[in-house]
Amino acid sequence: MDFVSRESEKLRRARGLASSAMGLGLRAPHYTHLFEHEPELDYFEVISENFLAPSPTARQRLGRVKAGYPIVLHGVGLNLLGHAPLDEAYLEALCRLADAVDAPFVTDHLCWTGAHGVSHHDLLPVPYLPELVELAAERAFEVQRRLGRPFGLENLSSYVEFSGSTLTEWEFYSAVVRAADCWSLLDVNNIYVSSQNHGFDPDRYLAGVDFSRVLQVHLAGHTRESDGTIVDTHDHPVSDPVWALYARAWKMGGPFPTLIEWDAHIPPMPEVLAQLARAAEVHG
């Protein structure tokens, strides 16, 4: 089966991007280079929360980016699996932003971020249980309906797992996406990080992914701490094991849009873009 026939019409429409599109997670240090050099890139992804209640400067910059590139939205504050209901005001603001940038799709994480009125600004895991598949799927379905555009869930990197889980992470993730009839944002680095932290085979994870629902793939760097724990820091180049896992993902489910995230100790933009060039080498 060739790549073109593997990408269904439904998936092609949902992505709204070229099937092998290359994108970058846009961060504040990139703006100067971006506006001066207008690098060749297929799309940018922005953190939704940075623009939901934006400063005029942020809004002005986003307008300039939109003039030259497609923008997809990536959230960190939906709190899909918080015990409280979804935040209506947040959802409304997200819908307005998605309309304003005409985002091909919107994504967030399969996690919780806040509880009992306090937001932790972190992506936190839950036990992998059928009961929570139903909860997450119902909410994800509602988010996608409200957005009126494809909504994708990203798999988490995690440092703990719950002894009460009855599903593997990939079973849980796939079940939620399927039941919600939404989409996946597959983070290959996250698979690797969690596989190392919890001792599972990352290829078993990949084998459990429904690539016909993958809107895009994320790549990022991580840090290994002295006790062996891998922390998803996004402050390094993509590691060799993650490149290897990405190559296997591409073989199994490519083509898919690929995006580099680099969130801390951000080097000059050409260095970040070099990571995308390496991804292109994987594609062959």
Binding site: E49, P56, V118, L124, D227
Partner: protein, 285 residues
């Protein structure tokens, strides 16, 4: 019908949240919480101590605090550098214990830190104390101006001019007036060129205090020096009619100052309008 989350999820998340918000201890010099501080029931739910659960909870625990410390350091760069990050994080941690993040917008987390800091600051040297409190006010002003919506600038019409004296000017959200007793505003501008986390030496005090307007200009922030009486007038204009503000200022001036006051106030008013310090004029009341 919307499904409710199971009650156990709320309980689990409350335990997890308490663990990751456990205050970090400073005694070891590394800012970590003792692993014994985490709820044993949560540790058990995570596979117990044998599965490295406490050490892994510590990752989330530190991430929570350091992400928020970073948000506060970004919002209060001058204060953080004058204190040094180690000391600044101590105040930030105490602030966050009483003002935990309430929403998705991490940029809101530092709101109110300047007032908290002014109350909480422990510093016996009065000069240093004043400079640190001023630095937090300058940072807060900068932050407010940067985030302010660019509202239309007030330009008086001929019709306005005839009755302007009894009107009140509405200050622009994109302008703040700050006083300093040392060259702190200039120092804040220089910080971007000198990234470091160590404590900066406090600059020598000025012979007299200085005033600045911190104003949003284009997509940046500009600083304009103000004369002391000019700043006093601008502050009065923010809460009184122009007539009342001028009268109050005149009362505060010496006889020598009063001789030149009409000429100077006209120049200051004209400059403030030209610089866009006012968004509207109110004739009510």
């Amino acid at each position: 019908m919307k499904r409710e989350a199971p009650a156990w999820l709320g309980e689990l998340q409350a335990r997890f949240a308490a663990a990751i918000r456990t205050p970090l201890e400073r005694a070891s010099g590394t800012l970590t919480a003792p692993l014994s501080a985490y709820d044993p029931r949560l540790v058990q739910a995570l596979g117990g101590a044998a599965a490295k659960a406490p050490q892994r909870l510590a990752v989330y625990n530190r991430q929570y605090w350091f992400r928020l410390f970073d948000a506060l350091q970004t919002a209060f760069p001058l204060t953080a550098r004058l204190l040094g990050y180690w000391s600044f994080n101590d105040y930030a941690g105490r602030f966050l214990l009483t003002h935990p993040p309430r929403g998705w917008n991490i940029d809101e987390v530092p709101s109110g830190f300047d007032a908290f800091f002014a109350d909480a600051l422990q510093c016996e040297d009065p000069g240093r104390r004043r400079a640190l409190i001023e630095s937090a006010r300058i940072d807060a002003a900068w932050r407010a101006v940067f985030a302010a919506e660019k509202t239309p600038v007030f330009r008086p019409s001929d019709a306005d001019a005839a009755r302007l004296l009894d009107a009140q000017l509405v200050p622009s959200d994109a302008v703040r007036f700050v006083e300093e007793h040392g060259p702190l505003v200039e120092l804040r501008r220089l910080l971007a060129r000198e990234p470091s986390t160590g404590a900066l030496a406090l600059p020598s005090p000025l012979p007299h205090s200085r005033w600045w307007a911190i104003a949003g200009v284009g997509d940046g922030v500009a600083t304009l020096p103000l004369e002391a009486r000019e700043a006093e007038l601008l502050t009065l204009l923010g809460r009184l009619s122009i007539r009342s503000a001028l009268a109050r200022l005149e009362q505060a001036c010496t006889l020598e100052e009063r001789a030149h006051l009409p000429q100077r106030t006209r120049a200051w008013l004209a400059r403030s309008v030209a610089a866009g310090f006012w968004s509207a004029v109110s004739f009510a009341g």
